[in-house]
């Protein structure tokens, strides 16, 4: 039996007396006495959010929603709560979606959370209703060009650890074949920097003619867009397009699937149109010329990044790289490729861990690590910079330290090419 839930107000004033916490405990009304349709109307009137009103309650989304697997959330439920007059603008539901696109994959009515979420969140941000930690990420991005709040001037500092020259376009003063758009976590996060250094060494070994924007680069901004800050996204995009337009190159290679998504679908709308590939796609084509000098005798599984896989249909390139690594046994998790589950970092989730915690029984990254362990993987390979820190954290918090390692594909590849001696594969 499902019981009515108790609700507590932070402060309730009864006859002029402030009652807080359990003293004002009440029970949620059991009987639905009104369908306040103005709320559904308000939400579906937001441009982009129309399709929320299309839901016919089949429940297919609930079954594949990773967030529902750790909480009480799915697009179907959102529609019903909204139909009952609970405003999505005020509900924690609004911030739980990681825009992983698994619901849209199965939705018969094309209720499109990928459009709904940024649209409604934008409204909530305007009304000052977004969680504080998300706003901090926005503010950092606006101020420093990265959500972490690191110095904009230090964006290229990681290159010092690469051990190979990493040309910065403003100094190189010559056209390049590949403009490598590095992105924030690969430029600043300690583990991201290690993967960037590995990728730089691979590029050097393969003789790739490349350059980076260095301090002229700012966050691509796609996750900020999905999290409701379209204005910020546009500001960043305008900046990056302006910087990229200064230089001559044949294509952009990105480390981050979120940036890939932005360059593929959003930047062209703002006048920035270049051929773009994810680094796994770029390297997959160069595999024939790669000289592997050692192997990894491990079972490796691959976590599909939502924005590379479901959003943009690339499942094969990262796998072809992993399969090429000597001695590796590639195993697939139950949720893989189209049905892969999210790491929890997308759509702003990267900056909402504190908020999400209160509405989830565990983190999505923990679920995923458990799944990787369940399928016998000793290495969880990733190709999205959000994931190394998220999964490494989850490995520790789920007590699997020493049992499974989290590695970027670039790190593994560099290792087998003899370019990553420091990598400890245990």
């Amino acid at each position: 039996m499902q019981k009515a839930k108790a609700i507590e107000l932070e402060i309730a004033v009864v006859d002029g007396v402030e009652l807080n916490g359990t003293w004002n405990r009440m029970f949620e009304p059991r009987v639905i006495s009104e369908y306040d349709l103005s709320v559904l109307e308000e939400i579906t009137n937001i441009p982009g959010a129309e399709s929320l009103g299309y839901c016919y309650q089949c429940g297919k989304c609930t079954a594949v929603c990773p967030v529902d697997s750790v909480g009480d959330y799915s697009p179907r439920k959102i529609f019903r709560r909204t139909q009952l007059g609970i405003s999505l603008l005020d509900s924690p539901d609004l911030w739980l979606c990681t825009t992983c696109r698994n619901c849209l994959r199965v939705c018969p009515k094309e209720v499109n959370m990928i459009d709904i979420m940024p649209a409604v969140r934008e409204q909530a941000v305007l009304e000052g209703k977004a969680p504080a930690e998300l706003l901090t990420a926005f503010e950092n991005t606006a101020r420093y060009g990265n959500p972490i709040g690191e110095s904009a001037r230090k964006r290229a500092d990681w290159t010092k650890t690469a051990g190979v020259p990493v040309p910065v376009m403003s100094q190189k003063k010559a056209p390049v074949d590949v403009l490598w758009f590095v992105e924030c976590y690969p430029a600043y996060h300690p583990r991201g920097k290690e993967a960037s250094a590995a990728l730089a060494r691979i590029f050097a070994a393969l003789g790739v003619d490349f350059g980076i924007l260095g301090t002229e680069e700012k966050c691509a901004g796609d996750s900020q867009r999905m999290a409701g800050e379209r204005g910020l996204f546009e500001m960043l995009a305008e900046h990056n397009i302006k910087m990229l337009s200064k230089y001559r190159f044949n294509e952009i290679v990105v480390t981050d699937p979120h940036a890939y998504n932005a360059f593929l679908h959003e930047y062209p709308k703002l006048g920035g149109e270049w051929p773009v590939r994810h680094y796994t796609q770029f390297l997959a084509e160069k595999l024939a010329g790669v000289n592997f000098v050692k192997g990894i005798k491990k079972r490796i599984t691959f976590h599909d990044p939502c924005y590379l896989g479901r959003h943009n249909g690339e499942y094969e390139a990262p796998r072809s790289l992993l399969r090429a690594l000597p001695d590796v046994e590639l195993v697939e998790m139950g949720h893989c490729k189209q049905t892969s589950y999210c790491c929890g970092g997308g759509g702003g989730g990267m900056w909402l861990d504190g908020f999400t915690r209160d509405y989830a029984s565990e983190r999505l990254s923990e679920r995923r690590v458990k799944e990787a362990v369940e399928y016998g993987a000793e290495i969880l390979a990733v190709s999205c910079p959000y994931e190394v820190p998220r999964f490494e954290d989850a490995v520790k918090s789920t007590g699997h330290d020493g049992q499974i390692q989290v590695m970027d594909i670039a790190e593994l590849m560099a290792y087998c090419m003899g370019l990553n001696e420091g990598l400890a594969i245990s």
């Binding site: 930690e133 300690p190 908020f355 820190p389 520790k396």
Partner: protein
């Protein structure tokens, strides 16, 4: 040269340490500069509290308006005392009172102000004030002008002076009234823990291993006069409430001491505590990234160190 004026501050337990530090320093400077020291005290019982201060003169304002600290009333009195005594230096602890009175006096009497002062150094009869600027990232060495200045002094800048003096005591009274009125003073609620307000944090991470070990941290914190905080895994495990969490998704803290026990120092954690004045890290892994942020580090087992440290601090 005018005297050195110390604006004293007291709490329920008497004159504050910070005041005593100013008194000690003032005496030292007065001696080399060949001037005297004057202490100004507010509130009922000021005469009794200041009677033993090691200064040449005490001025006490005890009357009704001074019953509780009122920034505007005290400022009015201070303005008058400064006009009458023409001090070379006016030293005020850099507390709420110092922030109230120092700048107000500076503006009203057109005297330069050096705030967040952590030292006053004398050389050849010239005084240089050291002021913490840019949140302590830089120190400004400020030559005190010949006409003198107001300095508000950070607590903990010097050793406390002794209370062995026999000053001349003067009381003042007059109309210091203001449009400002203190309605009441509220004591802090007991039992509430706000880790952002604590000066000393004993912060525990995954290295605490089990909730059964938390009393070790509690006892150490109590012995140090601090509070227990933690990193995210401890909150995630449900061992401590969310309010105790330091880091990106928890609180940002700037204590005087951050004793990090068994915390590896993920960037998300460092973000919440890297501005602490003093960081001591206890972690069996010498390579842990917390060691990059810490001033001091040790690789002994935190579970052994915590009781050993607590015992010494209680004993002392």
């Amino acid at each position: 040269m005018g005297p050195i004026l110390i604006v004293t501050e007291s709490t329920a337990s008497g004159i504050t340490d910070s005041t005593k530090e100013c008194v000690g320093k003032a005496k030292e400077l007065a001696k080399v500069l060949g001037t005297s020291t004057v202490a100004l005290g507010f509130g009922p019982g000021a005469v009794d509290r200041l009677r033993r201060l090691d200064v040449n003169k005490v001025i006490a304002a005890e009357d009704g308006e001074f019953a509780v600290y009122n920034p505007a009333v005290c400022e009015n009195a201070l303005v008058q005392v400064v006009a009458e005594t023409a001090p070379f230096l006016t030293m005020i602890p850099n507390t709420t009172m110092g922030l109230d009175l120092g700048a107000g006096l500076a503006g009203r009497n057109n005297i330069p102000l050096i705030a967040y002062c952590s030292d006053l150094q004398e050389q050849d009869g010239k005084i240089t004030a050291v002021s913490q600027v840019f949140a302590g990232k830089l120190l400004a060495r400020v030559p005190v002008p010949g006409d003198g200045a107001i300095v508000t002094v950070l607590p903990g800048s010097w050793p406390t002076g002794e209370e062995t003096g026999d000053p001349v005591v003067e009381t003042i009274s007059g109309d210091y009234s203001s449009r400002m009125r203190v309605i009441r003073v509220i004591e802090p609620e007991k039992g509430d823990v706000d880790i952002t307000k604590a000066d000393i944090l004993v912060s525990v991470g995954r290295g605490i291993e089990s909730p059964d070990n938390l009393p070790l941290a509690d006892e150490l914190a109590e012995a140090m006069g601090g509070v227990v905080s933690c990193s995210r895994p401890v909150v995630d495990a449900g061992w401590l409430p969310k309010a105790r969490q330091v880091g990106k998704s928890g609180q940002t803290v700037k204590p005087k001491l951050y004793l990090a026990c068994g915390i590896s120092g993920a960037p998300e954690h460092l973000q919440g505590m890297r501005d602490a004045d003093l960081i001591i890290a206890v972690n069996t892994d010498e390579e842990a990234s917390i060691m990059e942020a810490a001033h001091f580090g040790t690789t002994v087992d935190m579970l052994d160190l915590m009781p050993a440290l607590a015992e010494r601090l209680r004993g002392g």
